[in-house]
Each structure stands twice: as structure tokens, then as C-alpha cells.
């Protein structure tokens, strides 16, 4: 876990690396790594790598970074965990390699030395790292298949810079702060900034599942080594399994993933909700041999006694699996007090992440450095309403949506006449226009604002420029390449490549890191995906999907949890927002379209977040 940064003055005309700038970038990420800091500048001052450390594997100074290969040729700065490093290390030792430390970082150096950029295919875990080869004068960067760990870069044509956070790059002081219209538009459309765009024109994300090489001529094309769409598409060719085989295989794959995710030299706790995902993971942690499990659940006074309250069921799961359990209550006063810190820690604007902030805070209060989260279960096992909504919309609307001008006409009618006020949700206006394709229907389902509504919250020129560069529907379609045939596989691909990647995982990163807590997600794992995709791709009945997960532990998840209807994780932020001091120059009450009493609270929250970060 940790924060990484680097500067590569690759161009002959570029000034040498400024150690002060690199240090400012690094130390903006102090919370990501409170246990140590390292900075290295190459002899000719053309390269600098930096690191902030949160020690979890090999707590000794041996794990310090930047770390060098024995011959000094390779230098690495690494954020994340390589869960299969014991196996990789054993292989490398058999091949005659000698190790100087106990850390997973060193494995990266040996693998790169042996296999070059292809080494990334051997890694199981969450990671973002950079390796500099001093002989080849070449920088190699890689990001994990799902994009669990962030990696941002800025290249001005002379100098390449990277860091774990956008705000850290800006804090260095050498990058233009010009906003990116595509990032602004993307945030209002999706509720989070879709990669590779960011809030800043000069900064881009290295996309999930990609590698990048920078040499003396600058960046080469990014190379994709993993795609969720491709995993599903390949899985569709697999023969269908009998029910008991499917159960056996998924049980083994889930246990295997949990076992890998428990690798640590510090205790690993777990977030517990009232849902199947986190409950099943705690059960599997027990099956994997961990007897002493610390769990934590959030509760809100506002929900006490109603069905949104997670605390009672979570407590039952905790008793069921015999964990040391804490219910952490969050009050409006605490929310209000923490809000400035939340907005500061929020690297990229998002309409979510508040819950993760508090549960991470609670885990840290319990002394945990690592916690398991059930994030990803809904994407893998079809837990969202989108799994039924999107295919249904496409089935019903594919013909009407092809009638020229019909969809657009209906949207104008719905938006510009009194009908607008009767719609249960303003997005309904776009139903016929968008609902006929997977990308369009997904946008309807997940979109916060539809493209046609953006002018209410952004200036016209920003909307035009942002839509031109982002092209939201095409952006969604782009995730479906290659395109799986089955509806389940398509929706699962979209959810994992868009909502989960740009919102859930990014929120888990900044909100966890703000409390120096590493959040691990065993249900977001490319090896698990390869095992599960052949089982789920051809669309098992939806109830059955989560059942596979619930029945995976030797002691299945309690019946009460399995029977509970999905509510999603709800926080009373909507209510608290009314009284909160957002420190923003503009409040949503200043905007006509957001002042109507029936405005979805997420839209108001989005506006407040965007105004606060502007």
C-alpha cells in the first residue's frame, strides 16, 4: 500500500528533475504512507522516484522504497499488494534468483528483469508501480486489471510525471491547473470522473489493465493486457456446468481468492454490512483459517429501527462467525465536522465515498491497517437492478429508439412541457432516445444527469467541449470491446468497468488511504473473474447468483441475511446535506434546476462537491 510518484525528464531539452517538486508531490500523499518515505534522484538528474510507505508486508527497513535490483540497474516504486508473491518468489528462487528482502516489491524487480513488460500478466493483486531501467533509460508503468490502485500521469512533451493522486501531481507545482471540460462533464454524467479523464486537462489516468513505457522519445502507446469484456467474451465459449459443479467451482475459487487476500504481516479485519457479500467473505476468512477476526459496521441514528439499519443483521453475522465486532455510530455532528477533511481527501470529485470514509475511520480506530471489503460482489454476481433493467429496456426499446427523431422529440416534449414535473425521475425523459442500446440504457440507469440536462449546472461552452471529448455513450460502448453476447456478461462488464472502477474502487482508495487503511477486495480479482465468468456469463437466474456466494462458506451466510431484500448501502447524507457547511462559493439553492423540492439529493450533492473542489 502506499503512495508513489516520479519525474522523468526524458527529453534532451528538459530541465533536470527538481527534487523539491518531487518531494512536494510525495508528501502531499503523507496519509497514504505514514510509516516511511523515500526519494531517489538518478545520477544525471533525469529521473526521480519517490515513495510513501504503509508497511504491511515485511515491516523491516528491507521493504523500503524506491528499491533497487542487486546490480543497481532497476529501480521500483510500488503501491499495492502482490497476493501471489510467495509462489512467484518460490519460482524465481528455483530459477536461481537470490532475494535480499521479504517484501513483495523485490519480486517485481526480478520478474521485470526476466520477462520485461509481460511480467505484469503473472501478477495477482492490486497494484500501480513504476520501474526505471537505468541501462535502457526507460520507465515502465503498470496498473492492475481492475484499476484498484490509482495511477495518474502528466506529460508536457519534455517531462513525464506520475503519482497516485491527481492532487499530489498538482501540489508539485509544475503542472498547469487548467480544468478539463471532459472531466467536469463526466462527473455530472456519471457521478465520478471517468478515466482516463480527470478534473485537470494536463493529468490523465493510466487506464486499468494497461502498461505504459516512456523512453527518451516520450510516451509510447499504452498497452492493454487485461480487459473484463475479453474475460467474459472468452468465458462464453466454455461449456455450461451442472449446478453442483458450478457451486463446487465457485466455492473453491472464492476461498482461493480470500486466502490470497489475507496475506499480510499485520492483522486483517473486515467491514461487515447486513448483506451477503461481506458476510460470505467473513465466513470464508474463517474457512481460510483465520480465527481471530475483527469486524466493523456503520450505523446511523436516523435509521435506527428501520430496514436501512445494518447494525442488527451485521451483529447476527458477527455472532454467527464468532468475530470481535464493533458497531460504529456516525452522527450528523461528526459528518459536519469531518466534511472539510472529506472534501480535501477526495482526490477526484465523487457523489459517494462518505460511507467508506467513516467505516475506514472506524477500522483505523480499532488499530487495523488492513480490512477486507465485499466491494465487487454486485458486479460479479449480478446484484444490481441494472442486470434486469438494462436488458429489458434494450429488448423493449430497440425498435422505437431507431425511429428517426422520435427519441429526441419525446425528450424535448418531456423536458419542456409540464410533463417534466410529473416524471418520477427527470432521466425518464431520455428513455426512448437512449434505452434501445446497452450503452444508452446503462447511461439511463447509472447516469446522474443526462447529457441534455447538463446546461443547468455547467456553462454552455464547457458542456459542448466536454461532450465532444468525452462522448458519454461512445465511452460506455468502448468498454464492451470485445462485446460479450450474453446480457449478464454485458451488464457485468459495464458495471465493473465503469461504476465500480471509476466510483467504488476510487472511493475505496482515497477514503481508505486518508485513514492509512488498506482496503482489500477479494471479489475484485482477475483470477476469480476467470473462474466465475464461465459460470455466470451465460446468465444463471439472478437470485441464484448471490446464492453461490452465500453458500460458499462451510457455514453458509445466515438465512436472515440471504432473505433480506437488497437495499444498497444507504447513508443519511441527503438529509445532513441541508445543514452542512460545504465551504463552496455556490450552493445548490442558487441553481433553479436543483432547487425544486423533488430534485434527487445526489444531484445536489454532486453540485456541492463540484463547487467545493472548483
Amino acid at each position: 500500500m502506499c503512495g508513489i510518484a516520479g519525474i522523468f525528464a526524458y527529453h534532451y531539452a528538459a530541465n533536470p528533475v527538481d527534487a523539491g517538486e518531487l518531494q512536494r508531490t510525495r508528501d502531499h500523499m503523507a496519509a497514504r504512507g505514514p510509516d516511511g518515505a523515500g526519494l531517489w534522484i538518478g545520477e544525471d538528474r533525469r529521473i526521480g522516484l519517490a515513495h510513501r510507505r504503509l508497511s504491511i508486508i515485511d515491516l523491516s527497513a528491507g521493504g523500503a522504497q524506491p528499491m533497487f535490483s542487486a546490480d543497481g540497474r532497476l529501480a521500483v516504486t510500488f503501491n499495492g499488494e502482490i497476493y501471489n508473491y510467495p509462489a512467484l518468489r518460490a519460482d524465481l528462487e528455483r530459477a536461481g534468483r537470490t532475494f535480499l528482502t521479504q517484501s513483495d516489491t523485490e519480486v517485481l524487480l526480478h520478474l521485470y528483469d526476466l520477462h520485461g513488460p509481460d511480467m505484469v500478466r503473472r501478477l495477482r493483486g492490486m497494484f500501480a508501480f513504476a520501474i526505471f531501467d537505468q541501462r535502457a533509460n526507460q520507465l515502465f508503468l503498470a496498473r492492475d486489471p481492475y484499476g484498484i490502485k490509482p495511477l495518474y500521469y502528466a506529460d508536457n512533451g519534455w517531462t513525464f510525471r506520475f503519482a497516485s493522486q491527481v492532487k499530489a501531481l498538482i501540489a508539485g507545482g509544475a503542472i498547469s491547473g487548467e480544468p478539463d471540460a471532459a472531466g467536469q462533464v463526466g462527473f455530472y454524467v456519471f457521478g465520478s470522473v471517468p478515466e482516463p479523464f480527470t478534473t485537470h486537462r494536463a493529468v490523465s489516468a493510466l487506464e486499468a489493465g494497461h502498461t505504459l513505457i516512456v523512453d527518451r522519445l516520450g510516451m509510447r502507446a499504452q498497452v492493454r493486457y487485461h480487459s473484463i469484456a475479453a474475460a467474459y467474451e472468452a468465458a462464453e465459449a466454455a461449456p455450461r456446468l451442472a449446478a453442483h459443479e458450478a457451486e463446487e467451482k465457485s466455492r473453491a475459487a472464492l476461498l482461493d481468492s480470500v486466502r490470497h487476500h489475507l496475506l499480510a504481516d499485520v492483522p486483517v479485519g473486515a467491514f461487515l454490512s447486513s448483506g451477503v457479500d461481506s458476510g460470505s467473505l467473513v465466513g470464508l476468512m474463517r474457512d481460510a483459517g483465520q480465527n481471530d477476526i475483527e469486524t466493523v459496521t456503520l450505523s446511523f441514528r436516523e435509521f435506527e429501527g428501520d430496514h436501512h439499519d445494518e447494525a442488527p443483521l451485521a451483529a447476527e453475522v458477527a455472532r454467527h462467525y464468532g468475530t470481535r465486532h464493533t458497531t460504529r455510530r456516525v452522527s450528523e455532528a461528526e459528518f459536519t465536522a469531518d466534511l472539510p477533511a472529506i472534501l480535501t481527501a477526495m482526490d477526484q470529485p465523487t457523489i459517494d465515498g462518505i460511507n467508506t470514509w467513516f467505516v475506514a475511520k472506524a477500522a483505523r480506530e480499532l488499530g487495523l491497517k488492513v480490512a477486507i471489503s465485499g466491494l465487487g460482489g454486485d458486479e460479479l454476481f449480478g446484484g444490481y437492478p441494472s442486470f434486469s433493467f438494462v436488458p429489458q429496456a434494450v429488448r423493449r426499446l430497440q425498435w422505437p429508439s431507431r425511429v428517426p427523431f422520435l427519441g429526441r422529440g419525446l425528450r424535448h416534449v418531456a423536458q419542456l412541457t409540464p410533463i417534466a414535473r410529473r416524471l418520477p425521475n427527470p432521466k425518464m425523459a431520455g428513455l426512448v432516445e437512449l434505452g434501445g442500446t446497452y450503452a444508452g440504457a446503462y447511461l439511463l440507469r447509472r447516469g446522474l444527469f443526462l447529457p441534455g440536462e447538463l446546461k443547468a449546472v455547467l456553462p454552455d461552452d464547457i458542456v459542448a467541449e466536454g461532450l465532444r471529448r468525452l462522448a458519454p455513450v461512445a465511452h460506455i460502448e468502448g468498454q464492451l470491446m470485445p462485446q460479450p453476447r450474453q446480457p449478464f456478461a454485458r451488464v457485468a462488464t459495464l458495471e465493473a468497468s465503469l461504476y465500480m472502477r471509476n466510483q467504488l474502487l476510487r472511493d475505496a482508495d482515497w477514503a481508505g488511504m486518508a485513514h492509512s487503511l488498506e482496503i482489500r477486495v477479494p471479489l475484485v480479482d482477475s483470477v476469480l473473474l476467470d473462474a466465475m465468468a464461465p459460470i455466470t456469463a451465460s446468465g444463471p437466474p439472478l437470485q441464484h447468483g448471490k446464492a453461490l456466494l452465500a453458500m460458499a462458506p462451510r457455514r453458509p451466510v445466515p438465512q436472515a441475511v440471504r432473505a433480506r431484500a437488497k437495499t444498497g448501502f444507504v447513508t443519511p447524507v441527503g438529509r445532513w446535506l441541508e445543514g452542512a457547511n460545504l465551504m463552496s462559493r455556490r450552493r445548490f439553492t442558487d441553481v433553479a434546476a436543483l432547487s425544486r423540492p423533488d430534485t434527487p439529493w445526489a444531484r445536489r450533492w454532486a453540485f456541492s462537491v463540484a463547487s467545493a473542489s472548483a
Binding site: 534532451y12 531539452a13 506529460d155 512533451g157 519534455w158 516520450g218
Partner: protein, 372 residues
């Protein structure tokens, strides 16, 4: 798998340019430098050049470079380019030396099935061009821009991925050593009748179409400078249709006697001006790069430039000179005063040497071969 260099077939490049050999001006010079770099590289390319203007008879062209007869007319040029692509081929790369020619170059590259390399210089690539040019530019496998500023502006309208647009700065080798400045200085000052003056120098065309150079803002800053440095005199080298306006401006500002219009000068006389001057200033807002800053710096002068265009590259973010807001006359004045009052250490502009440029250009050409 990449073959060792010596086993790779020699690259053949068709260069469609406005002008190169037998022509003057910044773009012709850049094209010549680039073509020479590619033809002279360790694993040299063969290059066929088709210019719009310029007679190459008598100009030195390397053994690997063939310059065809210039075709001024648009249609004649397009026809000649098309014929060249067939008769002088096969080619591995089509190089396009100007954004306005990119539609033709893109069509030819497409017909030949080879990568397109587009060169952009300055303001022509700053604002979004028409749809056709944009479409054609988006077909480029490689774009080289003379500065980071031009690259950033092009990225704002282009659909190209960021990694395709590289920076290949103008190149400059100091013609004479700045160490030799002092012995010649006195003579130059005397010859130019500038004895006892603090000389502020600008070298640029005085074109009504290129008012972005900032002469008028230096004139506006003069009263502030003279108040602190009574001996200050502003010498403007260069001529053009904007001269009378600038003369009138100097009169209005009450500094007519402190502004000297030297007109256009030859190379030798220009050296004298560099030797006689105390500071070079050109607060431009529209430089693609600005070689003139490097000439001045190489002559040992402190340099002042604007902070919003290619000048930032020529001055290497302020390492090679002082960057100011080019629209802020007070800031321009203060920078001039500072340069006149505080002796600045001499800077080294060696980073822009032709050897560096040539190695980079050859590397970029080779990367195209590998991508194809």
C-alpha cells in the same frame, strides 16, 4: 521483433513542405535541419522533398536528399505530389511540413498505406482548424511540435492521443562564442554610435500582421525604465509595415528620442548589435518557439520573454532567461531594470544543439518504422 539497425531496410521518406532548400525563413530552416538530420543519421533515410517554393539549384543537399522542382500553385502542387508518390517511391513515411497541407499529405499517405508524420510550428496550430484539416491531422501517426505550448494547444482541438504528439524544438548552434564578446563590444558600441547608452534590444520583423511580438509593450514600459536607468535606449532591429505605428507610439509615450529604429540589418551588423546590447527583450504572445532568444543568449545577453507561448521552451522555463507576463508593461519594465542593474551569469544554450536535435529526430523516424 525489432531487427538490429543495420539489417533494417533504409527508410524512404516523401517530404511535402512549403519550402526547404533554396529558401529563407524559419520554417524552411527547420525543414532543412530536419531533413539533414534524417539523411545524416546513423541509419540514414532517403528523402524526396517537394516544396511549394524555393529553388534548390546551388544549395547544398546531401547525397540522400532529392529536392524536386517547386510547385507554387495548389493544384499543380497536389498533382506533383501525387506523381512523386508514384514515380519516386516506394515510400515508408509521408512527412507533411505544414498543417495547411495535411489534407493532401493524409490522402497520399493513406493511398500508399504508410504512416503520416505531421510537423506543426506555432500559431497555425493553436486555434482549431477547419473540419477537413482536423480530420486529416487526426490521421497522423506522429506529430512533431516545436514547443510544449503548441503541443498543448493542438491537443485541445485534436482527436489524437497525447502520446502521438511529440516535441522537437527548433535547433540552434551558437555561431560565435560569447566569450569573444567583450573585446568586440567597445568597437560595436562605437560603430553603432551607442556609447554610454544602456541598450535594450529587440530583433524581429515589424509586421502589422505580427503585432504579438510586443514592441509596443516595451515602448510603453520605457518611461518606467528610464526613470530608474536614465541611459536606457531601445534599439529595434527589423523592418516592416508596422514601423510607422510604432514610431508614433514612441512619440505619444514621450520617448521618441530613446527609441532607435535600426531597420533590417545583415548578419555581420546583427552581431554588432548583439555585442553592443545590454539586454534582449521580446515580450511576445505568439512565438512557436523563438530561436532569436537563443541567439541573444548565446551572444551573452540576458533575455526577457513572455510566459505564455513557445518562448517558455526557448528559455527553458526561465533557466535561460526571465519570463514575464507579456501583457504586463510594469512587469516588463521591472525585468528590464533588473537586467540592467544586476549582472546576470551567462547561460548555456547548448541543450538546443543540432546534435541533440538530430539524434531525437532520427529516433522518432525510427519509431514510425516500428509502429508500421
Amino acid at each position: 521483433m525489432t531487427l538490429p539497425l543495420t539489417q533494417q531496410p533504409r527508410q524512404r521518406i516523401l517530404a511535402l513542405v512549403t519550402d526547404a532548400f533554396g529558401s529563407h525563413g524559419g520554417i524552411a530552416r527547420y525543414n532543412r535541419d530536419l531533413i539533414a538530420a534524417l539523411a545524416g543519421a546513423e541509419h540514414a533515410a532517403d528523402i524526396v522533398v517537394l516544396p511549394r517554393i524555393g529553388d534548390s539549384a546551388g544549395s547544398q543537399i546531401g547525397e540522400r536528399v532529392t529536392q524536386l522542382a517547386a510547385r507554387r500553385g495548389r493544384l499543380a502542387y497536389a498533382r506533383a505530389a501525387w506523381q512523386a508518390s508514384r514515380r519516386h517511391g516506394p515510400f515508408d513515411v509521408v512527412f507533411c511540413g505544414h498543417l495547411y497541407m495535411v489534407p493532401l499529405a493524409a490522402v497520399i499517405a493513406r493511398r500508399l498505406g504508410v504512416p503520416l508524420w505531421l510537423q506543426v510550428h506555432g500559431i497555425e496550430a493553436w486555434a482549431a482548424p477547419g473540419r477537413l484539416v482536423r480530420w486529416a491531422a487526426d490521421r497522423a501517426s506522429l506529430v512533431t511540435s516545436v514547443s510544449r505550448a503548441t503541443r498543448a494547444r493542438m491537443l485541445s482541438w485534436s482527436g489524437l492521443d497525447d502520446w502521438r504528439i511529440k516535441v522537437l524544438p527548433n535547433t540552434f548552434d551558437a555561431a560565435f562564442s560569447a566569450v569573444a564578446r567583450e573585446p568586440h563590444r567597445k568597437k560595436a558600441v562605437g560603430r553603432l554610435d551607442l556609447t554610454g547608452r544602456d541598450v535594450i534590444l529587440t530583433v524581429a520583423r515589424l509586421s502589422a500582421g505580427e503585432r504579438y511580438k510586443g514592441h509596443d509593450r516595451v515602448i510603453a514600459a520605457l518611461p518606467r525604465v528610464i526613470a530608474r536607468c536614465p541611459a536606457a535606449t531601445y534599439v529595434i532591429v527589423g523592418d516592416g509595415d508596422d514601423r510607422s505605428r510604432l514610431e508614433a507610439l514612441a512619440g505619444e509615450a514621450g520617448v521618441a528620442d530613446r527609441v532607435c529604429f535600426a531597420g533590417q540589418v545583415g548578419v555581420d551588423e546583427l552581431s554588432d548589435f548583439y555585442r553592443a546590447a545590454d539586454v534582449f527583450v521580446m515580450p511576445s504572445t505568439g512565438e512557436g518557439f523563438g530561436i532569436v532568444y537563443l541567439e541573444a543568449a548565446a551572444a551573452g545577453l540576458p533575455v526577457i520573454a513572455g510566459n505564455c507561448d513557445g518562448s517558455v521552451d526557448a528559455l527553458a522555463d526561465g533557466v535561460l532567461g526571465t519570463l514575464v507576463d507579456p501583457l504586463d508593461t510594469a512587469a516588463i519594465g521591472d525585468a528590464i531594470i533588473d537586467a540592467l542593474e544586476v549582472r546576470k551569469p551567462r547561460v548555456d544554450v547548448g541543450r538546443f544543439a543540432t546534435a541533440h536535435f538530430a539524434r531525437h529526430a532520427a529516433g522518432l523516424a525510427r519509431s514510425l518504422g516500428q509502429a508500421a
